[in-house]
Subunit: 207 residues, 2 copies
């Protein structure tokens, strides 16, 4: 552990300080509202210093999003133990909604904002691993439900069903985030809408 390692460690430390500052600002005020200069102010560096650690603002965002996807998968911890498949599906839906409501600005960047396609080579998380990949977690439940005959006849495509379930829950959350200030619609409480959606999913898919 010579000076070489220490330098590397210090570098990594600054990097995480940038990430932490950016995460908090993005989460509180949204990506567009936060400037590189304000991130730099927070950590008492010059704005240009950030560019030594990240290619650009987008790269900063990308790294944070990756972390968030991991956090989302963590949200499902404990649910995997629930024995009944359909109950697990219900709980997954609620947990997903909770994540979106608790981190609306993260959710917006993760699921409501178009991003340029990412190079799979530089992907951090392990795709297909239910412990890191929330979609895979859902897909496992759906596959099990199909295999044990819990779903209706004709429903056999696990990906199609997982995508439909995901889209349904995503609809509730994303409308809440984007349109919560809109009184054009006489909104029912979010909890009621979440429960109604989970019910509709289960009633729509199970026998």
């Amino acid at each position: 552990m010579g000076p070489r390692e220490r330098r590397e460690r210090e570098r990594e430390e600054v990097r995480t300080r940038i990430l932490d500052a950016a995460r908090e600002l993005f989460a509180n005020e949204g990506f567009e509202a936060v400037t590189m200069r304000r991130i730099a102010d927070r950590i008492e560096y010059s704005p240009t210093a950030i560019y030594f650690h990240f290619r650009d603002k987008e790269a900063l965002l990308k790294e944070l999003c990756d972390n968030d996807f991991g956090a989302l998968a963590h949200q499902f911890e404990g649910i995997a133990q629930i024995p009944d498949t359909i109950e697990r599906l219900r709980r997954t839906g609620y947990a997903y909604a909770q994540f979106g409501i608790e981190h609306p600005n993260h959710y917006r960047l993760m699921f409501m904002t178009p991003h340029p396609p990412i190079d799979p080579a530089e992907q951090e998380l392990e795709k297909g691993n239910p412990e890191e990949d929330a979609y895979a977690f859902l897909r496992v439940i759906v596959t099990e439900a199909i295999a044990t005959g819990r779903f209706r006849d004709g429903l056999g495509d696990a990906d199609l069903l997982a995508q439909t379930i995901w889209a349904a829950m995503h609809g509730v959350i994303s409308l809440q985030i984007a349109k919560c200030n809109d009184d054009w619609v006489d909104w029912r409480p979010l909890e009621a809408r979440t429960k109604a959606m989970v019910d509709m999913i289960v009633d729509g898919l199970t026998r």
Copy 2:
């Protein structure tokens, strides 16, 4: 029709020219990517000229969104004549999806982007009129389905159900728009996802 009227007509003409240019640019490239200067270039005026007709860029957007909400309601023309309530519900879902897919940039601004709350006083469209208000159109269908006993027992809140149906369809479209470039998920074709969602809605709500 003195010169006073002519002036007013000319003024309105420039206004619509601005709106037309902005609409096309926004639709093709998205709100953020379009600058006031480029809109101005299109119509061969100086950028500041726009500010004589619209308070700011947001106001321009707001006016276009209003038009789009009207266009969405128009998308449902003809569907109102379909006698069977559930078939009408299905067709409304498909028509909504079609609108979103055909105008992704409009859809993004209408439903996927948080806006500051708008003053109801300066609202153009007539809220609650099914011919101008797409949500009201859906609500009428749901109310009818409840009244004629097509929905399951316990499903009696028309607003809650309309919001759930809307959210479900919105989920399909908004995920398509935001995540179509993401190959993390093995996406099924959009048409299959749309149909699967409509089926799940109908199976989940009807007896």
